[in-house]
Amino acid sequence: MHFTKRGFLGAAAAATLALAPLPALAQEWEPSRPIDFVIMAGPGGGADQIARFIQSVVEKNDMTSRPLVPNNKGGGSGAEALLHMSQVRDTDHTLLVTLNSFFTTPLRQEGLGIDVETFTPIAMMGVDPFVLWVHKDQGITSFDQFVEEVKAADGEWVMGGTGKGQEDSIVIAYMAGAYGLKIKYIPYDGGGAVAKDLAGRQVMATVNNPAEAKGFYDSGDFVPLLAFSDERMESYPDVPTLKEMGHDFSYYNQRAIVGPPGMSEEAASYYRDLFTRVYESEEWQSYLVSESLSPLWMDADGQRAYWQKQVENHRALLAQIDS
């Protein structure tokens, strides 16, 4: 398949060569090798699914001359991926698919010496909200009832999540602080494992991205109680937000594409253009809807400012957890 495709591209390139004026050709940067598409999480999780979805959109619509090759480096909450990005030699053929550990991991592990603000912004593909879930057999139907039950459990209320300092633990810590809840928190190695143990009632509640719990919500096993988004979510119009309850807190997982520090301006603009097309594709737009992601498109400067703000926010949130 690759041979024919490459052959076809070769022919197309030759045709362009014959027709186009030469100076225009020299300006266009194009990848000359397969692109290392680093994912800062293991296979099967939310970030991995998104990366493979993007890869498939690119492949299906033939958007690049060289393939994106997914490369899972999930070790140490993404520290492995961040180190890889900061040490990579071929900065123009390496991209990172991020989640919020992009902000939290360098803060929690200062020894890594990673400053994410030196990374090259490429595209913000959307943000993923968080929802509080319980199993239907728990018999809880509202957030008020949830608060009561947790208090009644007196420290024996068990919640599962993806680990201390991870996105869901930040949300849980804030919620627990705001309502004076005592929660026993069990770390797992991914959102899928967390959802499975809620389905099997090994844990009593979880905070997950909608995509990870959707199958069980559709079957009626999971009940959403509270959303941590700015406004009520379209797919869950009856679920109140924490903001409505009078707490000024919302939290999203960023689904962004980032280049390593030192990526050339030509390459960065090539990739920005590429991912703009992915973003505008029909496939991505319907993915945003089906997986309940919120759009949050911004340009490179916007992303830099957003990063700065997020780093500050997370510094404060993590300080709260540790105290």
């Binding site: 296979p43 493979r52 979805f53 070790g75 180190l83 592990q109 899928g192 099997g200 090994q202 199958g215």
Partner: protein, 503 residues
Amino acid sequence: MEVLGFLADGILMALEPLNLMLILIGVSVGLFIGAMPGLGSVNGVAILLPVTFLVPPGSAIIFLAAIYYGAMYGGAISSVTLGIPGASTAVATTFDGRPLALQGRASLALVTAAIASFIGGSVANVLFTLFAPVLATLALSFGPPEIFALMLLAFATFVGLGGDDIAKTVFSICFGLVLASVGYDQISGAPRLVLLDISGFLHGIGFLVLAIGVYGIGEMLWTIEQTRGEVTTTTPRMTVSGMLADTKEALARGWKGTTIGSFLGFFVGVLPAAGATPGSLMSYGVAKMVSRAPETYGRGNPDGVAAPEAANNSASTGAMLPMLTLGIPGSPTTAILLGGMVIWGLVPGPRLFTTETEFVWGLIGSFYVSNLAALIINLAFIPLFVWMLRMPFTILAPMIFVLSITGGYAATRDMHDIWLIVIFGLGAFFLRKFDYPLAPAVLAIVLGPIAEPTLRQSLLLSSGDPSIFFTRPIAGPITVIALILIFLPALKYLRRRKPAAAE
């Protein structure tokens, strides 16, 4: 029965020309990907995922499942002929497959592997068809304490078996556990045992790195030293009658391992988080434990080839079960398949079985067809693989070395792991000279990363009270059996000592 009607439809769907062609291509591709050291079904499925847009989702998953299936068959090939595990799922196959090959019985080992794979796959398919919903519920009732108890049982089978020196076995397990704990700690997120601050240790020591080092490089050095390079791997039989004789012998001498692997592998595969690699290692351990002649294991016992091979096929079908019924991956490969389902516009989860009947049963039907196709294709290629062994070892050894190195690199694309493979290879050679069993270390590096977090999660659940492993209805009995097995050799030893002291 309603189920049989669905199954008949599914098999007919799998036999449609397009699907049948995809199955044949998928199985052949899988066979070769599985046989290449370092590349396993995960790589095959991940690489070919984008290609599946050209066909409807039902056919796409059939294609990917066929690759998965073929890879389970293929893994045995390099394990037996070269002594390098072709995939992580085939490591246990080297334990007895390689000695058989060195005795000139490579064709017997390969035929045993193929037949055990077929039977394992068939048993799993039938169990899957009949009991999928019940088993899904069972899988959910396995929380952290149950999984830890099961891991304990797996270690117990390796300690409790006779034959090997127990102190050395325990040492080997502990060594493997230490290697398994290198890198980031999943619970606290802190880095551990990062030797000399080398960043390559941060992602931990991969299981394949140890396995390729020990079985690829270590085995090669061992063979060279034993034979001074003058190996004549005899002339293997390759005639039809020869293969028929091998088939008979495989059935006669490998049925026990096949039975154990088929059922145990399926069960372990169904549990999310486990997958085919632990399933095959545990089946090997159990087969050796219940055997009347455990000392023949590791020296070319066909049961030792049959057990892991039957298990890895039945586990790979088993791993599909939580994926289809719950939307939860049972192994790394099924995790990628799940991603594929999202891309094809399906919603994985408990409702998939009812809303996408055709898709689900088409896939199940394809298991039956793929299994048969894989058996036939595999048997047809065996003479070719055996023929490779006619090469003098002086030519094979450099090939093994190169395949080990490239295979190790392909898995992680990190030079750091190559150095580790070489170091482990040398280490394994010397440990072997002192008669240390190395299989337990390999087992420990696979099961350690599952056992450790579940142990800690369980203790977090119980606020540090270890009785959680005894009081829960499923975990309790498993823990008790595991403890008995662990202490059995000590009891035996004491009983043997007493009469001796009385004399």
